[in-house]
Symmetry: C2
Subunit: 148 residues, 2 copies
């Protein structure tokens, strides 16, 4: 049994991109939870700007650039079996519907790319639209892939 | 009393750079702990490459680029008073010796800049040297500013 588990781990290490390598499932969980906390903080800062009387789009762009980097880290942190970590709320569908999960990753990158471009370009209406779309993507992915 | 606390919070919100704004000290602690976990994971991946028989400098550069972004987030997450969060190991010197703490931030950014340049340029010896220097900066800062 131990040999089988080990072989699968070795196989996984070769098949996954380098970014996805974790010493243990707990590290993968902690990594994605860390990234999600950063995502929530920077989404919150953008929301704060967009709700203010005078949104500062340069600050929005600064936060969007950080999101653009950390979003890509998030989706590297779901090695198979890491839903077994006690605190994890990842549904088994993350792996059984991997193509759909990947679509959310692409959609999020697209949304945040638009958010970054719009805020950099000083276009408030496009920034608001891209932010709404980003928030909707977050929620839709949580609905489909995160346990309550 | 409530009014005094509120005024100081409002004042702090105006004085601090936007990146440093947190709803509560616990968020600042969680933010820097999240960033430090990412830092430790990516330092570990670089170390793994440099210890291997055939270090892949493109992978080192990929990890160094992530460090280069998240290092800058780390030092935004020390609002005054956030050493009072139960889990925080930040020493009061973070604030009483703020200039020295800032020097470590600059030193770390410099080290990781060199690590990124050396690994991108395919220079293994310079990559090793910059990685050692980065690790020493981490340790020196922990010795001075983190409780045991």
């Amino acid at each position: 049994m131990f040999k089988v588990v080990l072989s699968m781990a070795v196989l996984a290490a070769f098949c996954l991109p380098a970014q996805a390598q974790f010493a243990k499932p707990e590290d993968a969980y902690k990594y994605r939870a860390s990234v999600m906390f950063l995502q929530s903080q920077h989404m919150g800062r953008i929301n704060g700007q967009l709700k203010s009387d005078k949104p500062n789009l340069a600050l929005v762009a600064e936060n969007a650039a950080i999101l653009d980097t950390v979003n890509k880290l998030f989706f590297t942190a779901f090695p198979e079996g890491s839903d077994m970590v006690a605190s994890s709320r990842a549904k088994p569908e993350v792996w059984s519907q991997a193509a759909k999960f990947k679509q959310y990753a692409d959609r999020l990158n697209g949304d945040v790319g638009k958010l970054l471009a719009a805020s950099k370009g000083g276009d408030l209406a496009a920034t608001r639209a891209a932010f709404q779309s980003t928030a909707q993507t977050c929620k839709a992915c949580h609905d489909d892939f995160r346990r309550d």
